[in-house]
Amino acid sequence: MNQTMIALKNIQFHYDPGKTILNDLSLSVEKGSITAILGPNGTGKTTLLHTILGLLAPQSGEIWIAGKNISAYKRSELSQVMSLVPQSEVVPFNFKVIEYVLLGRTPQFGFLDMPSEHDVELVRDTLEMLEVQHLEQRPVTELSGGEQQMVVLARALVQEPQILLLDEPTSHLDLSNKGRLLKILQTLAQRSVTIVFSTHDPDAAAMIADHVILLKAGAVLDAGLIDQVLTSEKLTQTYGTEVKVLTIEGRLVTLLINGRFGEKEKVK
């Protein structure tokens, strides 16, 4: 237990010199934990996820995945360890759901191989687990937002990853779909999949995360167990607006204090 799955050490990343996105960022994530990367829009959450994934190479610093430096992995090996649910997946052609999800099996078979029976069955089982097996023959391009998110998740899951990265997974979902998705993530974590997701919504973090990383301007403001990090003071500092954290029915809930715009002097 307590095996470190992801470790970032002093990561420095920028697209243009002078415009630092990630600044001396260090963090570690344990196996089977659910970690929320929490912070305002434009603070480098997606960049951080893409850096962990290996898509972006930092200018300096080290990334360790499952105890091995990321540069020691082959591309195909890495894709067997980690999978990504991007914030919005634009599929340009009307693949059927089952074909699209089968693409997630690609890392598990050879470079020029085609999916096998076993792959098809695994995809069907996964669709069933996510309760979307009825979508199997539908074109991906015609799904609703909630359905599409489940299908993208299925594609990431059939990769059989040890680490699942999700970029703003709940931002386009209504309440019931949000609940379903978060419940599934919890189930996955119990099967010792390590889950890291970014969100700008503290409540989504509070619902399932056990660890929180507060990100502001590309640096870690605070990181640790949720009870210690998700506090009124720290959230206020992160978002630059007054936030209160309450405990309701045993769960942390955030409250935006000046969210009513009742006080005129706040509007300039």
Binding site: P86, F95, P107, P115
Partner: protein, 335 residues
């Protein structure tokens, strides 16, 4: 029960039907022509007339096979470009290949004596140069994604070659050379010989084989950059390999056939309607449909009138009509 077979039962069946259809059409095409009389040569004649035998062996057969290869290559190249650029309306001509070939052909007609093989070599050289130019230029552009940069460079290179072609046309002798350039630009296979076929076959066969082997990878490459990466694709390298394979095959064939438009735009659309976008089937599907389209178009080109109708005119005409039918029937998603 084999679940991959049952999942794609319809696709496997259609591939089989199209393969049989292609074989039948190629076989029938041997008898289609204007010797000894218009449209049809009775089997009796082929068995007895030595002139007919030589005509079939030396002229019709290489021409039919080249038409099949040309159609298959243009179609599959269109499929590759549309998937990689994630855009259903790009076609093989862009990336500087068509205009490069045209320029190369004109150079050969004007200054290199205008021999058949010289034109082909010069056209394929400049077509490949166009492709290379587009890639090199794309690397120098400092903004935009990979796709946008390649498309922009393709437009630039094509425009440069086409203005060069304009100059050459202006310089050409209007009574001889200009006619030849114009006729070449209209596209056609009237003078194809076994020698031509043997000259293009290695590049074309290798190119098609690479694309065929990478037909599942193409699906991954059609996804967004981040997803393709997370699925283990070496996106830049893999895209480059499959693009160069497809476009080189197109370039050498264009050098033989001249500009044959619309096949590479329209056939991929038909293939996706028949097989779905999955490259596993849309790649072989577009090869087969393209080959059939190529052979049928060329049969029409060489038999319909006493004189040859340029192939490019026929494919553009039929392609444009088909395109209208397709865009009115389907929901092509443009983004």
């Amino acid at each position: 029960m084999n679940s991959t077979r049952s999942l794609w039962a319809k696709q496997y069946q259609r591939i089989l039907i199209l393969s049989i259809l292609l074989l039948i059409i190629v076989a029938l095409s041997i008898f289609i022509g204007r010797y000894p009389k218009p449209f049809w040569m009775p089997i009796q004649v082929l068995l007895e007339d030595s002139m007919a035998q030589r005509l079939v062996w030396l002229l019709r057969l290489p021409r039919i096979l080249t038409a099949a290869l040309l159609g298959a290559t243009l179609a599959v190249c269109g499929t590759v470009l549309q998937m990689i650029f994630r855009n259903p309306i790009v076609e093989p001509g862009f990336l500087g290949v068509s205009q490069g070939a045209a320029f190369g052909a004109a150079v050969a007609i004007l200054w290199l004596g205008g021999g058949r093989l010289t034109i082909e070599l010069s056209a394929s050289l400049f077509a490949l140069l166009g492709l290379a130019g587009s890639f090199i230029l794309a690397r120098t552009i400092k903004f935009g994604g990979w796709v946008l940069r390649l498309i922009l460079s393709g437009i630039v290179v094509s425009a440069l070659f086409s203005s060069g072609l304009g100059v050459l046309k202006y310089l050409a002798d209007p009574l001889t050379q200009l006619q030849e350039i114009t006729f070449w630009l209209l596209g056609g296979l009237w003078s194809v010989t076994w020698q031509d076929l043997l000259y293009v076959a290695p590049v074309v066969v290798v190119g098609l084989l690479i694309v065929y082997l990478m037909r599942w990878r193409l699906n991954v490459l059609a996804l967004g950059q981040d997803t393709a990466f997370s699925l283990g694709a070496e996106t830049t390298r893999e895209r480059l390999i499959v693009l160069i394979a497809a476009v080189s095959a197109t370039a050498v064939l264009t050098a033989v056939s001249g500009i044959v438009g619309w096949v590479g735009l329209i056939v991929p659309q038909i293939a996706r309607q028949m097989f779905g976008p999955n490259g596993q089937f849309s790649v072989p599907g577009s090869m087969l449909i393209g080959a059939i389209f190529g052979v049928v178009s060329d049969n029409l080109a060489r038999t319909l009138l006493a004189g040859e109708i340029p192939l490019g005119i026929l494919t553009s005409f039929m392609g444009a009509l088909l395109f209208v039918v397709i865009i009115n029937r389907s929901r092509i998603k443009l983004r």
